[in-house]
Symmetry: C2
Subunit: 116 residues, 2 copies
DNA sequence: CCGGATCCCGTCTGATACTG
DNA sequence: CAGTATCAGACGGGATCCGG
């Protein structure tokens, strides 16, 4: 591989990684997406109990950001009382592969992570 | 797939994802790791120029955290003046696969990311 | 050259309480 | 049920100057 081609590719990929993190940074976003990967169409309170440790305030905020990034679709159901359901958009679903790799890495290296 | 097995697996994976993000959260960490993936043994100033937009303070801080998480190895070279080189540990290198998937996703979805 | 130390302000986040 | 409001402390991150 030539050095210039390498460096061009390198910078391009680093920018790509940074772009991706722009959307995924945030303490809970990846967890929320992971939860929605495992079961689509979840209500607010379901997500709240599935993401251990998150507060309703944070969940509300991060869901709003994910929605405005077009990763998540919010649907209000006219029930009594009102319920709201969240699901991944096709765009959001495209993250499934990345999330799975993250999960695998986290599983394989749990010991090292905790030890650190 | 049975529902209980599914849910057990689900929670386990969500925890794994959260664990992984514990180590990777931070505005620049993934970018730094990506940079080190593409060329091992880089000096502080090299990383500084390869990660666009980062300040020396942030680089210093995040490198320190990555080091204490055992993802990065720091080596002081007794040159004049002193130079310091950073490289990924084998543990850090195990993230290469994840980073590559992130880069691919970021490349494929650059338009959507920027549009949002 | 490789950072460390300090100042400083804005953002993030948890706890708690409240509303339609 | 699905959020919003408010307060207060923690944290992030830029600028700048300093030391080995």
């Amino acid at each position: 591989m030539e050095d210039n081609a390498f460096k061009r590719d390198c910078r391009k990929n680093i920018r790509a990684v940074h772009d991706a993190m722009d959307v995924l940074s945030g303490k809970w976003k990846v967890s929320i997406i992971a939860v929605l990967c495992y079961s689509s169409q979840q209500r607010f309170s379901e997500i709240l109990s599935n993401v251990e440790g998150i507060s309703n305030k944070m969940l509300s905020k991060e869901l709003k950001e994910l929605e405005s990034d077009k990763l998540v679709k919010r649907t209000v159901l006219s029930t009594q009382p009102v319920t709201v359901s969240y699901e991944l958009t096709p765009y959001g679903k495209s993250l499934k592969d990345v999330i799975m790799h993250l999960a695998r890495w986290g599983t394989e290296h749990r010991q090292e992570i905790i030890a650190g």
